[in-house]
Symmetry: D2
Subunit: 340 residues, 4 copies
């Protein structure tokens, strides 16, 4: 199958890796050539993820970047924890691979901002400068050329896609924005912890990291670039009892008189060439995006506020689906290939 | 049992009626003397609510208010739909009963406001003037004397209790308040509808009535009274996949420099005699209030905003529990009787 | 796209139709040429199923079979209620289409058995005789030739696939079989009813149709054919609070001494060419099959019983996925095409 | 409050301890005098269980049995892991306390059986002989006199209560019994583990310990005593995605011709003085018992089998509620006190 692009996945055990493999198996132009993991032994991928039984006959291997290059791997998807990614990515790039990094390590342009929010110095500022933030609707042209794409966070995408048309057109007060997000539990990762123990988070809603979540600087960085002026967001994430899905309600204040119809037109125009942003008139359900790479967005103008409602599947659009969208752009494929 | 107060429940089939009966069965000073319903035949209450099998050997009867009076009923809890309550309540009052009305019919002081939000003229403006809004933490003294208590809505309690100390002390901008609420599905009532069909609302988050929910004027009325000045709230309710519980995140803007410590002290002081409001330091889980009459409240000062987090069980604190709290006040009993 | 087979879906509003459309959109050799529905007006399919927004730009149309033929439709998937299907299928066949019927109307060979279980006479006994029961692992060769395939029920597949190797090899007592199934709520369809109202079925388990479920004769018919002798199953379905998934526990009594190893070998051999039955050694999770066309099967030999554990996604393997598997066989395509 | 019985809870952090405290707070004749735990420091109970905030102003203390005696504690509830209980219970008894042990340590009469199923030798065979199995419907008179009650397991109660009338009257084949149970996740305890991580067990059904669950010998021991002959049960537990509730489906084979009506009469008679077993005609929902001490039981006679459906709240009836029922019997109180 000479027309297939050989890819590797680094970090096999988590939910984003699993979702990525499930999506890549459907992609007509991809071959998963290696799954790299520091797991003891060389377990079958299907032992980690039984849903892959009979579908992906690969073992997790403890391979070095140069081994991957030797196997003809062109692109690596790194599904590693933050802090770990930036130790591996330089070697992958040096071995000639292109990299789509699903961690947070290359999302923030300034090493100082990284250090402030992640409480450790950045280890790879050189590549940080080259990394392109992997939100295709904003940075599509640069993603096409990128060797290193920093795949965006799940929450930021709902906030950024929900606000980009407004800040691009200078419609709202840039420092009076509130984003209240509700997320399914898979976003917390696969490691069991007290607050993700079923009897604790089932039948429960809670807020966490109020005003201090690490996705905040990511949103503000991108929105500020879109606005060409500083944008500030007060972001409050909540955990709700479901597997997948993020539903974000954003509150913004218009700087001038606008009508709902005008705003809808502005959104539809802004996303006219974005195949994965659906500007809808109805109030969306997060479930309408389940298993898809779509972000559904609508808005209402009420009581002198613009209320934007934005939702996605946090594991697809929020992580592994958008990674493939980025991959498609990087390799000159149709943006939607394997994703519809 | 001559020391028991005989009560009747009108409207038997819904979730608030069921919860009310479960709570009243535990109340040491109450005897359920009648359950009134327009159900065909005279079904056993336990046929409508199997959880009551073997616990409440009463039939639903189609009784008139004077029949209730004759049976020695002193207090009626009306669990009827809005619009229906105001047709029945006058007769109950005329028959000499005191009434705790769990519908929305007597919550809004002004008939015009009722008509604006409920799209029908108010049928009983005379009693509307006498009705006391049944939020004990705000109107305790008046509830003690009331013959007609308008039991408060589920959402408004989380918003009002979350904001009352701030507006009472003039700490925040009164017209720059956002309340983003997440509710379990039992709040939508017991009638099956498409959006409450399990496969639709399970694994889903959605918003509804954005900026237009009928609980808005209720919140604004009470908060304006507390503030002695107009208060405006932009309220957005969301449906999350759980049975019970409301978690409300309120965003307010301080009018002056305040510290978190100062705010906590203000809250603790304001609620020092309120047995059912727990001002907590930690971020609460809605589940911490499950099955209880507590409202848990905390706050955070972040990015020039006060973020208040407030939660309750919508069927207990949000409806039937607070109804009993009101009952206790009306009958000179300890406020917590039967509720701890 | 001349190499695409044009298909129509009849009955658009339910969950199986939605799942079918989602799967067909990914199928490389299918074009959805028409969606037929008796809905008022001609709504967009995406109005019924917002998840399809931007993916399927078709309206529901009230078309006759001959209209479909004229449009070049070769195959119709009928997602209609039982009783309705058998009124439409004859016309589709007469118009020259091949039909995959997802209702129960053509599953039971004998009109008398249909009448006994569905309480109405069969309207189309002529085609009933020609219909092939669409379980590829059992009737693959006949499905390839079929003009009318009766797509199998969700529960029966878990029971039949779990037992077929045992009855084929005469390992168990054929009249001492118990099947205890646990199903997600989507199996109950899309119409809201009291028992599928979220606050009723969430946090709840219940049994229904104990020993009388209409899927019973379907299981017995197929297993009896496999066994070439009468097989009887006592079947008890349960509703559990999840969207999708069936987990069935089958209890059988061996007729002779067998070992677990021997039984596993028998199963692996029986399904050696079945790409969608995974005989696994571990105890499976229904979630391992979520969104897939796989049925995972394992067994344990305990206390003189063979306990078979069998699970699937009720909307994919249990309905729309197996329909495509049948389609693939009927059109000489690879059995797994579009399904992995 | 001289009429209150002072009790202690040993082992504070788990779900049964929490539920027990919530129930005891409502009991009119109990005072919680001490909460004993080996937690570091002496945390407030409400720090472990925020739902108890403002309701139980006690710290966890590392107290010895003689300290408890000195404080006037008459009865200890031990909510400790199996293996730990049997090291503590002897000292409690020696200090003059009566003990209700919620672990499995004193449930099995024979030390050999304990060792076989729990893989360690029993440390306290002397008291094992005196312990009474705390199922009031079977051992009520002996519980009244007991100094040590072995509180029964959650699953066994549904199975035993479901079968007792049948084996007592010799209606069924005693060695041809299957029990298929579906349990909420709180039964797995409070320690986070991979299989109870929300995204793993939500939207999932699985079986575990097929035919080998440790509750099996407990069921068989009690049923054999009721039958005065050996009874064997093949028991298969399943995990379903809900917090609480067990729904058990038991399959038995009648030894003689019986009618459903006759069986119902037999059940109603057998439980005529059991306030917490509700023999119902309808198919029960596990949710009908939520938060209650009831076990709902019904049966159907189908295809030569008796199918018994039995359900309970695993934390109340299955653990902490029945512990209080036992307490009431031990102290000569009304059996239902504090439990309705």
């Amino acid at each position: 199958m000479s027309d297939k692009i050989r890819v590797a996945i680094l970090g096999a055990s988590g939910y984003t890796a699993r979702e990525l493999m499930l999506l890549l198996l459907r992609h007509p132009r991809v071959e998963i050539a290696a799954v790299v993991s520091r797991q003891e032994g060389t377990p079958w991928v299907a032992e980690l993820h039984p849903i892959l039984t009979g579908r992906l006959a690969l073992r997790c291997e403890n391979l070095e970047p140069r081994d991957l290059a030797r196997r003809g791997v062109q692109c690596a998807f790194t599904c590693l924890p933050h802090g770990v990614s930036m130790a591996v990515v330089p070697e992958l790039l040096n071995a000639g691979l292109r990299v789509i990094d699903l961690s947070a390590d290359y999302r923030l342009r300034e090493p100082e901002v990284y250090q402030e929010w992640y409480r450790e110095p950045h280890q790879d500022p050189a590549h940080l400068r080259q990394a392109v933030y992997g939100l295709p609707e904003i940075y599509g042209p640069r993603i096409r050329e990128a060797r290193l794409v920093a795949n965006p966070g799940c929450y930021p995408q709902t906030v950024i896609l929900g606000l980009a048309p407004l800040v691009a057109h200078d419609v709202i007060e840039r420092e009076d924005i509130l984003a209240d997000a509700k997320s399914g539990v898979s976003g917390a990762g696969r490691s069991p912890r007290p607050h993700t123990h079923f009897p604790e988070c089932n039948e429960n809603v809670s807020a966490y990291n109020v005003g201090h979540h690490r996705h905040t600087p990511e949103m503000e960085q991108v929105l500020s670039e879109v606005a060409r002026a500083p944008v500030r967001v007060l972001f409050t994430p909540h955990l709700v009892p479901m597997d997948r899905g993020i539903f974000t309600t954003v509150y913004a204040r218009p700087r001038r008189t606008v009508s709902e119809a005008e705003l809808f037109e502005l959104y539809r125009d802004y996303y006219s060439r974005a195949p994965f942003v659906r500007v809808v008139a109805h109030l969306p359900n997060s479930k309408d995006t389940l298993g898809t790479n779509f972000c559904d967005v609508t808005l209402r103008l009420v009581r002198q506020r613009i209320v934007i409602l934005s939702c996605e599947d946090n594991l697809v659009r929020g992580a592994s689906g958008v990674a493939i969208q980025n991959f498609n752009l990087m390799y000159g494929l149709e943006e939607t290939l394997g994703l519809l």
